[in-house]
């Protein structure tokens, strides 16, 4: 499975949705994921890809990891995975 699909799968699981219902343009809020859900999704992403995600819940907008939409999350994870290899 591609990085993109794995990330979508994690987000879908967190939002109790089908993968097909997770559009790239959606925000986590659109998908019904609250702040604890965000932290839990990031934890799942770290575990899945064995990466460290730089994210502070106090200042999400200032974190290097952009969570403003599913697409930005996918691209941030792709970057981190690429940096790792």
């Amino acid at each position: 499975m591609s990085v993109k699909n794995k990330v979508i799968q994690i987000i879908a699981e967190q939002g109790l949705l089908d993968m097909a219902d997770v559009s790239l343009s959606a925000t986590l809020e659109d998908l019904g994921i609250d702040s604890l859900g965000v932290v839990e999704s990031i934890f799942a992403i770290e575990e899945e890809f064995d990466i460290e995600v730089p994210f502070n819940a106090n200042a999400p907008q200032e974190s290097e990891f952009d969570i403003s939409s599913v697409a930005t999350i996918v691209s941030a994870v792709e970057t981190l995975v690429a940096e790792q290899t």
Binding site: S35, L36, V39, I42, F43, E52, F55, N56, A57, N58, A59
Partner: protein, 402 residues
């Protein structure tokens, strides 16, 4: 109903090993937070904390006793000893049964859990020291204080995360007020600066890696501390009769539950706690000159707390001062409210308002006088101390000058 006064105070925390040292540090706006010293630091992403540095338990306790004292018990015993000494109270056999204690702690003997899990899981040992259970149990600190000072009245430990100390002090206050006890020791402690303790907090992603900057627009989260604060509470009549120095009068307490979210604070829960405490104290909101804020330095707490204070105090919110001393000593979790009550005592007794240090940029969502960076001289006659815990349990205390 009895009037209840505070006649003794004791503490040990990152700012000092006594009340005078701690108040001096608060007055000077000292930073007690610094690089952590502990094993496996390289595996942590949060490497700062309000740690009590170079603490040698053997300088205070003999080795036989230490076999039973987790770090949280050690800190609690030291703070209790200072508080009782300062109060000048002699707990005679007669007074003993009318004296009790309520202490708050979130984690109890965390160091003992941490050390012994390591030993059985990581090192694969099949045997642990026989005193592990009595050392780690959450009420161990309170029990050892009762034994050290012959306290035989109502005694217990309460655990409401970051509000534990305020709940403990509030309950002890009610016990003296109602006549259930003549004297109560009250306060709290936590010593969660262990590898596992920090790892757990790291996971929540609310910790700052740089500094605790409550109310500042660029705040980046909380910083953990450790320590204990203990007070002697007694009836006004009793204190007067024995000629004790009265530090302040405790006049109000209220507690509420948000019934909302397990971690996110709730403005209405906080407002109800503040209003309830003022009602219990029979004060008007404009009587309050200083609030010791919960002020954790997280995005969520600080804006919610400021909104709650604005709602509860109306126009007077702009006239009062509110600071967070967590900026100096870190978040003592279950011990927070106790050490922070010292800032209220300093305001009432010495007319010195402890600052919120590390403050850099105003946040429009925290537009109150947070006494940025430098302590201030001001005469206040009544203060409030807020504690809003994870789990939505809130406890607010009201103190008055005497």
């Amino acid at each position: 109903m009895n009037r209840v006064v505070i006649t003794g105070a004791g503490t040990i925390n990152a700012l000092g090993r006594s009340v005078p040292e701690t108040l001096q540090a608060m007055r000077e706006g000292q930073l007690g937070i610094g690089p952590l010293q502990m094993r496996d630091l390289d595996r942590l992403s949060v490497k700062i904390g309000g740690q009590i540095k170079n603490f040698d338990p053997e300088a205070y306790f003999d080795r036989q006793k230490l076999a039973l004292y987790d770090r949280v018990t050690q800190l609690t015993l030291l703070a209790s000893r200072e508080a009782i000494t300062q109060s000048g109270l002699e707990i005679t056999e007669e007074l003993s049964e009318a004296t009790g204690l309520v202490l708050g702690t979130a984690a109890g003997g965390m160091n003992t859990w941490d050390d012994n899990f390591r030993s059985v899981y990581e090192e694969g040992k099949n045997r642990v020291h026989p005193f592990v259970v009595p050392k780690l149990m959450t009420n161990a600190a309170a029990s050892h204080v009762s034994m050290a000072h012959n306290i035989k009245g109502p005694s217990l430990t309460v655990s409401t995360a970051c509000a534990s100390s305020n709940h403990a002090i509030g309950l002890a206050f009610q016990m003296v007020r109602s006549g259930m006890a003549q004297v109560m020791l009250a306060g709290g402690a936590d010593a969660m600066l262990t590898f596992g303790g920090i790892k757990a907090w790291e996971g929540l992603r609310v910790m700052s890696k740089t500094a605790c900057r409550p109310f500042s627009a660029n705040r980046s989260g909380m910083v953990q501390g450790e320590g204990a604060g203990v007070f002697v509470l007694e009836t006004y009549e009793g204190a007067k009769a024995r000629g004790a120095e009265i530090l302040a009068e405790l006049i109000g307490f209220y507690m509420t539950s948000d019934a909302g979210d397990i971690v996110m604070p709730n403005q209405q829960g906080a407002v109800r706690a503040i209003r309830g405490a003022l009602r219990d104290a029979r004060l008007d909101s404009q009587d309050i000159g200083y609030i010791n804020a919960h002020g954790t330095g997280t995005a969520a707490n600080d804006k919610t707390e400021c909104a709650a204070v604005m709602e509860a105090f109306g126009a007077h919110a702009q006239a009062l001062m509110m600071s967070s001393t967590k900026s100096m000593h870190g978040h003592l979790i279950g011990g927070a409210g106790a050490v922070e009550l010292l800032a209220c005592l300093m305001a009432l007794q010495d007319g010195v308002i402890a600052p919120t240090i590390g403050y850099e940029h105003p946040d429009p969502e925290c537009a109150l006088d947070v006494v940025p960076n430098i302590a201030r001289q001001a005469k206040v006659t009544a203060t409030l101390s807020n504690a809003f815990a994870f789990g939505g349990m809130n406890a607010v205390l009201v103190l008055k000058a005497i």
